[in-house]
Amino acid sequence: MSILVDENTKLVVQGVTGREGQFHTLRNKAYGTNVVAGVTPGKAGQDVDGIPVFNTVRDAVEATGANTSMIFVPPRFATDAIYESLDAGIDLTIAITEGIPAHDMMRVYTHLKRGDQRLLGPNCPGAISPGKATVGIMPTDVFTPGRVGIISRSGTLTYQISKEIGDMGIGQSTVVGIGGDPIVGSSFIDVLAMFEADPDTDLVVMVGEIGGDEEEKAGAFIAENMSTPVVGYIAGFQAPPGKQMGHAGAIITGSSGTAQGKKDALEALGVKVGTNPTEVAEIVADRLK
């Protein structure tokens, strides 16, 4: 097994005819993901390399049975695209788009949590279950099939840690980017719970960074609810307060959200935190012995 994306994924891509949308759609398809449809308003009847394009997500779902959507539309249209996907009954929406306003996401999040659909992102690299399916922008050759789950707020850091782990001969069940924005649809806890329920995930690596308190909340969840071991990593020990470190969500406000605070909180709850990606891989290898 694996989580979120696999051989049962039927993907519709919102923004499929855009430059980036098309590029990544075809890469996902080439990896083996079952891409069943694309959506661009006004372009129904066209196709992208054989993938049929529809005017609306609802049309795409009715015609193809799509159950997962990937959003590649610019920030000013992305909020609408998320609502459209949810309204069409899509189980899992993956929003790659970076730059969606925070007020929009407060409303999207509140709406989302009244139902039982899932949203990954926004501002996330997507998810990959190596050997089965990838949805998003991750460089697929970094990953190999295996039994370690990875959850991360950052894209490139995910690749770095996956490679370090891969170099030790350890593969991944699913790698999930939850996104670098202050409000994202799925938290560490949401994804940790899925990994806990997955019989084919033996260990989870949680890659956090400065800002917010999601890592601390995840620590409490791990201590109370997880039998699968979790190894942590936190980026941003050198980050000064009040400065946004790239991601909209990576900012230390006052005394909360620091890397040291997160590391201390996690370790107090029994989650070992590596000080750099290489050490994380070493801890993982050690735990799996």
Binding site: P139, S154, L157, K163, G212, D213, A239, P240, G246, T275
Partner: protein, 382 residues
């Protein structure tokens, strides 16, 4: 984006929130003219985005226009916690009966707006929250329903607001929430919100932050953005759209993606060095982005060595290598540059550097070894 007090007050006034009448002044002459126009005793307030202005001597009363001139002369150019005062706000002095605290914030943990109210205003609200938590009334708002009058009443009763001021505070809270939504703010803080001798409720300070991601819908707010940094690299980076934060050290750092750059800073520190900056050249870094980033880094005279850490996903390492060579040709840098390339087209990238890069550019195989090498080279150069 953080706004100055005067900008916040002007926005408050537009949203019907009472503020003292005032004017902005860049010179003592303008301050004097403003005081004349306002009439009576005025307050001269330093416009800097940092707390503790009053204690630092950045807020003064002036009974006459001449006094306003003199106070403005003192305050303009003053350094308050590293911020130089470039403007002062001149406003009518208020007759204060009591100081309250009111705010609407974007509560990232709850993922909802949070409205807070206290009858203990005018002081550090974090201290109030810690020492008298019962004095700070807090209420989360359902963003799909909005802030209702009964919400405001709940806050007013729980914060123990004085009866004659209740109606004015209710109105101020409703307007503050309206402003929070209209401006797509992440923070609206009024400390103090005052109850005046003539029973009005007035915002005596204004702290407003706007969500940068929403600025495309608010061109008028985007125009308010003043460059608050005096740092030449931060200014240059801002102008060229590079994500850059200046730090104190001497190892310049560049990478592709916020996470890997933060991690690179940490690894440099673990190796015994001190990072000079955070610089994210972006997820899809191409040759041009690399050249721009390098130019920003090399303009910082404190930088003794560079660590370039690229994990190619969408980014192609061969393009990064080409960009690096082009930039070095133009900029002619001689300081040691340690490059680590991994992921998409990494071998091609490494080959380009091995074949054609000048001797000051070295390639390291891993992030850790690159950090160690960059730290050693910075120490040798120091």
């Amino acid at each position: 984006m953080d706004l100055f007090e005067y900008q916040g007050k002007q926005l408050f006034a537009r949203h019907g929130l009472a503020v003292p009448s005032g004017e902005i002044a860049d010179t003592p002459e303008q301050a004097k003219a403003a005081a004349e126009a306002i009439g009576g005793t005025v307050v001269v307030k330093a416009q800097v985005q940092v707390g503790g202005r009053g204690k630092a001597g950045g807020i003064k009363l002036a009974a006459t226009p001449d006094e306003a001139y003199a106070e403005a002369q003192n305050i303009l150019g003053m350094d308050i916690k590293g911020h130089t005062v470039k403007r002062v706000w001149i406003e009518a002095a208020s007759d204060i009966k009591k100081e309250y605290y009111a705010s609407v914030t974007f509560d990232r943990s709850a993922k909802k707006p949070l409205v807070m109210l206290s009858a203990m205003g005018g002081m550090d609200i974090e201290a109030v929250a810690e020492e008298h938590p019962e004095a700070l009334a807090r209420l989360h708002v359902d963003p799909l329903i909005g802030f209702q009058q009964h919400d405001a009443r709940w806050l007013i009763y729980h914060a123990d607001i004085d009866v004659p001021a209740q109606k004015g505070v209710l109105d101020a809270l409703m307007k503050a929430y309206e402003a929070f939504i209209d401006l797509e703010a992440t923070l609206i803080e009024i400390n103090p919100l005052i109850w005046t001798a003539d029973d009005r409720v007035v915002a005596l300070d204004a702290k407003v932050s706007i969500d940068n991601n929403s600025l495309y819908r608010h061109p008028d707010l985007a125009e308010l953005q003043e460059s608050v940094t005096d740092d030449p690299q931060e200014r240059m980076a801002h102008e060229r759209g590079v994500t850059y934060v200046k730090l104190d050290g001497d190892v310049g750092i560049m990478g592709n993606g916020a996470g890997i750059v933060m991690s690179s800073l940490d690894v440099v520190a673990l190796a015994g060095g001190t990072p000079a900056n955070f610089l994210d050249a972006g997820g899809g870094s191409n040759a041009e982005a690399v050249a721009t980033a390098l130019e920003v880094l090399l303009s910082d005279p404190k930088v003794k060595s560079l660590m370039i850490n690229i994990f190619g996903g969408i980014t192609r390492c061969d393009e990064v290598a080409e960009g690096l060579l082009t930039a070095l040709d133009t900029l002619g840098a001689t300081l040691p540059i340690v490059v680590r390339l991994d992921g998409t087209a990494a071998e091609e990238g490494r080959a380009i550097i091995a074949d054609r890069a000048p001797a000051n550019v070295v390639v390291e195989p891993t992030m850790l070894s690159a950090a160690k090498r960059a730290v050693e080279l910075a120490k040798e150069a120091a």
